[in-house]
Amino acid sequence: MTDVPARLPARSGEWIDRDRVVEFRFEGQVYRGYAGDTVTSALVAAGRRTLGRSFKYHRQRGVLSLANHDVNVMVDDGQRTNLRADVLPISAGLELQAVNTKGGLTGDRHRHINRMAKLLPVGFYYKTFHRPRRLFPFWERRIRALAGLGTIKRDAPRVETPKRYDFCDVLVIGAGPTGLSAALAAANNGAQVVIADENARAGGSLTHQWAGDAEAVEIRERLLSAVDAHENIDLRTGTTAAGYYADNWVALVDDIRLSKMRAGQVIVASGCFEQPAVFHGNDLPGVMLGSGAQRLLHRYAVRPFQRAVILAANSDAYRLALDLVAAGIEVATIADLRTEGETGPLAERVTAEGVVVRRGCGVYEAHADKNGELSGVVVAPVTAEGEFDLGRQESISCDGLLMSVGWTPAANLLYQAGTKMDYADAVQQFVPAELPDNVHAAGRVNGVHDLRQQLADGERAGLAASLALGLYSGEVPEQPRHEGGSPNHPYPIFDHPKGKNFVDFDEDLQLKDLLNACQEGFDNIELMKRYSTVGMGPSQGKHSNMNAVRILARHRGQSIMATGTTTARPYFHPVPLKLLAGRSFNPERRTSLHEWHRAADARFVHVGDWLRPEVYGAADTNRPLNELVLKEVTAVRRAVGLIDVGTLGKLDIRGPDAAEFLERIYTGRFSNVKHGRMTLALRCDESGVVTDDGIAARFAGDHFYVTASTTRSGAVLQDMQHWLMRWGLDATVVNATGHFAAMNLAGPYSRHVLAELTSADISDDSLPFGGVATATVAGVPARLMRVGFVGELGFEIHVPAQFGPAVWERVMAAGKQFDICPFGVEAQRILRLEKGIPIVGQDSDGLTNPFEMDMGWALAMSKPFFIGQRSLQILQRRGAERVLAGFSLPRDGNAAQVRESHLVIRDGEIVGRVTSVAYSPTLDRIIGLAYVAPAQNLPESTVKIRADGGVLRSATVERLPFYDPDDLAQAGVASLQEVS
C-alpha cells in the first residue's frame, strides 16, 4: 500500500471528496485516492512521477498539462484503451496498465530504443527498409508491432451509444470566466443557452489560476451561482465541443454520446492551451506546464514536488510562484526569459516571498536522477540572439520545473467555422480577425488575457449574440484591448548539442527533426507536418503546432503570419469510434406480404434495402436450396406460381400532359398507347446509357401507371419530379410504391386461378397479352396487367397494400387445386433467363446502351425529344462494340464452373463478360447471357469463357429466347399439362 505523502490539507474549491476513499490498481500496484481524483492526481499524490512511456523512444514521461492532453500518460483498463489518465476519474476496482510498454512501465523492454535515437531520425522509415524489397515484409511486421499506442480489445462488448440532435439559441463553448459571463449576458436577454465545457466542473481558469486573488474566487462563486440559478442556462460539464460544421452545427461529445447541437449563435470562449518551452530534457518526469501544477494544487490538493524552478516569460509565472509558495513548495528561482522581467505589484509580492528572480535567463538543460526523473536544472543567461551564455551557467537542484512561457488559442473550432485569423504582435498569438456570421469569440482565444477584461469580453459576446437573435436592441460594447506585456514568448525554443529538446511529446519529435525536415525541402507548414508528423499525434498539436510554426518561420526568415498554420479539421480532439458510430440505422423495407413469406419459411435476400423471398421452404435442411429453386421453376412452367413483386417502383402519372411527360422521360412512344394497354418504359440517361426499365400502363387518357425496377424506383421518382418542374408540364407524379401490394400470378393455370376470384372478363379477347384493366379481385379493387416477364401466361395483380395479405391468401387458396406454388426471386431469375429477358443492372452496367442489349426496337428515334436521344443517335451511327448474347454450356464433363462476371476471351483479349448464368431445369442445360463481340453473336458458334481456376471453357452461342421462341406460353395458347 502506497502512502499519500503529497496530499495537501483540505482547501477551498478542491474537486475531491475526502470522505470517500477509492482504491484502484495501476501496473499491478494498489493505490488509494479520493473520489473526484483523476488517475494522474491520485498517482502523483501517492508519490509517483513517472506515469507513462513516450511513443517512439519509450522515454519516461509524467504530468504535462493535466488538461486532457497528456498523451504520454494513457492507460488501458482491460476493455478500453488509450484512456487519458490526466482526466480519467478513479473508481473502485479499476485495473490499469500504461499503454505502449513491453513488460510494464518500469521494466519496459523497449526503453532501449531511446539509446538508438540517433539512428532513428524523423522519416527514417521512409528511406530505409524498402531495399531489398524481399525484406520489406519482415521490417513492416516489426515496425507495425512497435508502432501505435494501446491495443484494440476485440472481445470488448458492444455498447450502443445513441447520438442525439440538440438545439439552443446560444451555444457557449467554455465555462471559464469568459464563457460564464457570455452565457449570463445572453440568458438575461431571454436566450436559451447551453454551455459546454470538457472539464468535470465549470469555472475554467478560475478553478486553478487565482494565485491568492480573493476577488477571483468571489467572481467564480458569483458566476457559478448565477449560472446555476438561471433557468435559461443548461451547463454541460464533461462535454467537449469537438467539431464545427456548417450553419452552427457543433458536435458535443460526452462520456456516453455525441450530440449534434444546432445553435443559433455560437460563442467560442475556449481559452488557450499553455505551451511548453523547448530545451534539453524538457520531457523528464517532473517538468510540467505551470497550469498543470496549478491544477494539481487547487483541484486535487496535490503537491507534486518539494523544490521548484520556474521558467518564465509572462505574468502567469509569477502568479504560479505565489501558488507554489502558498502550498509550501520552495521556489528555488524564477528564470525569466524576458530581459526586463516582471514589474509591478505581482513581482513585488513574489520578491517579498523571498523568491529569487533571474531576469534574462533560461533553462539550458534539465537533469535526471538515477530513476530517470528530474533532479536539477542548469540555468544561464540568454542573449538577444537566443543563445545561452554558458560561462555564467548555474546548476540548481529541484524536483519540479514549471514552464510558464506562453499560450496558444484553442481556436480550432473558429478555424473550422471559417474564421480569418491574424497574428497579433501585442500578444504574440493568433486572434480572430474576421468571424463568420453568428459566431463570436471572447476571452483568451480572442487575445484577452486579463480576468476583468475576460468578463467584459464575455458579456460583449453575449450581448452581440442576443442582438443577432433579435433579443437585444441596445449597444454592444467594444472589445477590450490587451494591456501590458505579451503573455507569450515569441521563441521559447533552444537548441542543445545533445538534442532531446522535444517539440512534440506525442511523436517524440525534437528540434533537430523539424530543422532536418526544413533542410530536406519540407519547408511549408503542411509539408513539414506530413513529413515529420508534428501535430499528428493524439493531442493533435495542441502543444506542438505553435512551436513548429515558430521554428519554421525562423528557419525561413519570415513572419508567423506568412508561415501560417495547418488546417484544423473536425474532430480536433479524439472521439471514441463508438460515439461516432452511435446507434445503427439500417433502413429496411418489407412488403405487406412479408409475414406470409416468413410463415412459409422463406429465405430472404436483400435487394437494395428491400427484403425479398429468395426461395421458400428453406428450413427443410434435407433439400438443397437449388432443388427448392428448381421445384419453383418447374411449378411455374407446368402449373402456376405466385411471386411478390410489391418491391417494384410504382408511379401514378396523371394530368393532361402525362403522355407528353412520358414521351420525354422514356425512349418509347406513349401518346399512341391505347387505354387498357401497356408498353415497355425504357429509360436512358443523357449519355444514352440504360438506367431503368419497367412498364407503363394506360388506364385513362390522363392516367399512366408506371413501374420501375426495385432498386431504382427512388432515383426514377426523384428524376421525374425534377424534370416535371423543369418542363412545367401539367401533370403530377405520385409515388405509389408502398401503397400497392403487387403479385405476379404466372403459369399455364394462372387464368384459371384468377377467374376464381374475379368476375371481370380476363379472357384473351378482353385482356390480351399487354392489356391492363381495373377489376375486383377477392373483393378488393385491383389493377390487372397481362405480363410475361417469366415467359408464361401471367397476371400482375396490384391491390391496396393493406389488403395485400388477404388477397394473396385467397389467391393461394384458389390456386391450391392447381398445385400453386409461391416462388422467390431466384426462381424468377431463372425463368426470365430462359426467356432471354435481360435485367437492367444485372445484364447491363454503367456504360451499356440499348443497342448493346438488342433493345433498339424500344427507341422511338423519330420523336422530337427524349432524354438521351442525341447520344443514342451518335451511338446508332457508330454501331455497337459489344452485344448481349445467349449461350449454353455443352455437357463436356468440364468441372470448371462459369459464373457471373467471368470474362469472354477472344484471341487472348477480353471482349465481354458473363452477366447471368444458371442451370435451366426446363431446358436441362446451363444457359446464360454474356457480352460478346458483335461478330461472335452467331448462333451455333463458339465463344471462350475464362471459368473457375482460369480454365477456358467453350460455350455455344444461342438464339434468344432459349424458351418458347414463338411466345405461345405467355400468350396462353400452349397446351396445359395435368396437375396432381
Binding site: P162, Y165, S592, G646, H703, T732, V734, T737, G738, A801
Partner: protein
Amino acid sequence: MTDPMRTSPLSQQLEGQAARLAVVQEMNTVVEARNEAESSAALTLCDASALPRFGICGPRAARWLTDQAVALPRAVLGTQALPPDGLCLRTGEAEFIVEDGPEGSAASDLARALGCGLDGVYPVLRQDAQILLRGEQACDVLAQVCAVNFRAPGERLVFTRLAGVSCAVLPPASQPWFRIWIDATHAVYLWQTLLQIVRELDGGVSGLASFFPRCSHRSKSPAHTKEQTK
C-alpha cells in the same frame, strides 16, 4: 366468402402485446396493450395504421373538397380537425389527405365520391402506416432519430426523416401526441427503432383506445376470440 380485412404492417410487431383486440375500420387492431401505462405523461408508442386515409391531388382538388363540405387548412403543411377525431392535412399546394378517426367514414365517402378521378382532381391511394408517440420524453425519442427541433412550438406538418426514412410528423397541437405517418414498407423498421429507444427510456406500447377512447367499445376480433379460447 367473408369480406377481406385490412392488415396493419405492424400487426406482427404487436403480436403478444395485446390485452384487447378489436376491429377498427376493417382492421384488427390492438386497442389495449398489456402493461399499458395509465398516465398520459408516460412514454408510449401506438400503432394507428387502422385510421383510414383518403388522398387527393390536382389543380382542382381544393375546390372539389370544398364542394364536398370538407374544411381545408389554408396553409401548406397546415391541418384542420374534422370532428370527432378526423383530420385534414394539406401536404402541398394542391395535395390533401383526409384521415378518419376510429369511427369516421369521411375517407371512404370521399373515395367513393371521386371514383377514379375527374378533370384536375385525382385520387391518391394512401396506405401509410401511422405511429403515435406520446409522453413527456417524446421529444427525447425524436431527438435521437431526427434533426428537426420538435421542442420548438409548431403545429404544422413536418416532412423529415426519422432514423433515415422519410416521414411526415405532426407535432402535438389539438391532440397531445406526435402523429408519424410513414410508408408502410418502412413501418416495421421504424417501429422497431423507435420502440428500442422508447424502452431504453422506460416507455412501452399502448393500444389505440388509449389515444382514441371511442374505439374502446368495438367488438373483439376473431383473432382475439381465438386467443381467448386457447
